[in-house]
Symmetry: C2
DNA sequence: ATCAAAATGTACGGTAGCGTTCAAATAAAA
DNA sequence: TTTTATTTGAACGCTACCGTACATTTTGAT
């Protein structure tokens, strides 16, 4: 194992080839882990998919558990890019919320995300820290952004709330309903863009009704 | 394998002892599967926990997959008992909803349930039918009961709704928020009975606000 | 007491995966 | 061209598990 932390190792290496291999390994590991889960995934399958020898995998990652952890880390760091809650200047609060709800819906409905959550949840028993890590970099961060956005709106006197955190959670609950649950257990949710719009509008209007001054 | 279907085999057996063994095996399998997931659970560990030989396990269940399926079936059939949505005669709608929300919260917050959902979700990739089976016997059934309850209330003119199914989903979404998500990823939710009451009241009042005539 | 179903222990063959070792090959940098 | 880090394949020891076979023992029913 040459380096345990791959987050900032773009500088200290003599040869650039290894960089590509690491990326390949992580990508392959991601695919395999998401498809089969932790236990049912073999290092050799990962190596094969990455077109790399098993020894190379072990030369960059301590062991299977460590590799899985790195995959989760990488995935979590990507999450922020996909779903951002923005407080756009000069935009109606309702439109901001609609945009946020759409973002949430699209983000969580992706097949990739659904599969990621499936696999991750299963590994929480084995390694609870990995669940915490995900929560910190995913849900908690998103709810935090949302809370900030709501606080700003409250400051401006546009809405009111006794408990902003709970209000943020309610927003997510109203938007998603039980859809994430149904997706997780394999129900194919067929939704046109029109359906999404309807659902989002309904959720936002409901939420605004509950929080109007 | 003496009998593949254990749901109605209380009659055709000569000896009652085997009945107890089957129950023991299922209980042990449940514990092991819920703790370690499908792949990481060994038949031998199950046999040991059930104080039974491995051969006995195989004499009653075809294989590991089949055993897991039976565990899920058993668990699903138990679910209805834990959480019932009742339309109590002569009870205020608000109280019925509060009771239902409490039932939902307590039901889904149980550590057992959280772990069951974790393991189950992970196996959906391997066997999608198992996810469908769970949805049919769990969430869909509960939402169905809830929908019936709401329809009755609408009939009585106590509330109104454009889309009852979505309203039922909203009820669940408002009550649970993102709590099920946080629980699934290992966040320890510390809630006193007082906290639960507050949350439930808040959700029910919000929902009623959205559906009053 | 007798009988047959049920359960056991042991052992087996087969497969698979983890993580390591090592000598040989490769490829970038000097 | 030489040097040095990196990569490779093949093999290894080890452990674990699946599912089966079989001879033996237990156990409930009649």
């Amino acid at each position: 194992m040459k380096n345990a932390d791959h987050t900032n190792m773009l500088l200290h290496t003599d040869r650039p080839a290894s960089q590509r291999k690491i990326v390949d390994i992580l990508a392959a590991a991601r695919t395999e882990f998401f498809a089969n889960g932790f236990s049912a995934t073999s290092i050799e399958a990962i190596a094969a998919r990455a077109c790399v020898s098993k020894v190379t995998v072990y030369s960059w990652f301590k062991n299977k558990e460590n590799l899985f952890g790195e995959v989760v880390k990488t995935e979590c760091s990507q999450m922020r890019k996909y779903f951002v809650v923005e407080n756009l200047e000069g935009t109606e609060l309702r439109d901001i919320l609609i945009s946020a709800a759409h973002g949430m819906l699209n983000f969580l409905m992706r097949d990739e995300m659904v599969r990621f959550e499936r696999v991750l949840a299963a590994e929480v028993n084995r390694d609870p820290k990995i669940g915490e890590y995900f929560l910190d970099n995913g849900p908690r961060m998103l709810l935090g952004d949302l809370t900030n956005l709501l606080n700003a709106a409250i400051e401006r006197g546009e809405i009111r709330s006794e408990n902003v955190t709970e209000s943020a959670e309610m927003f997510a609950g109203l938007t998603m309903g039980r859809m994430d649950l149904f997706l997780r257990y394999g129900h194919k949710v067929m939704m046109t863009e029109e359906d999404k719009k309807k659902r989002v509008n309904r959720a936002v209007d409901a939420w605004l009704t509950l929080h109007r001054v």
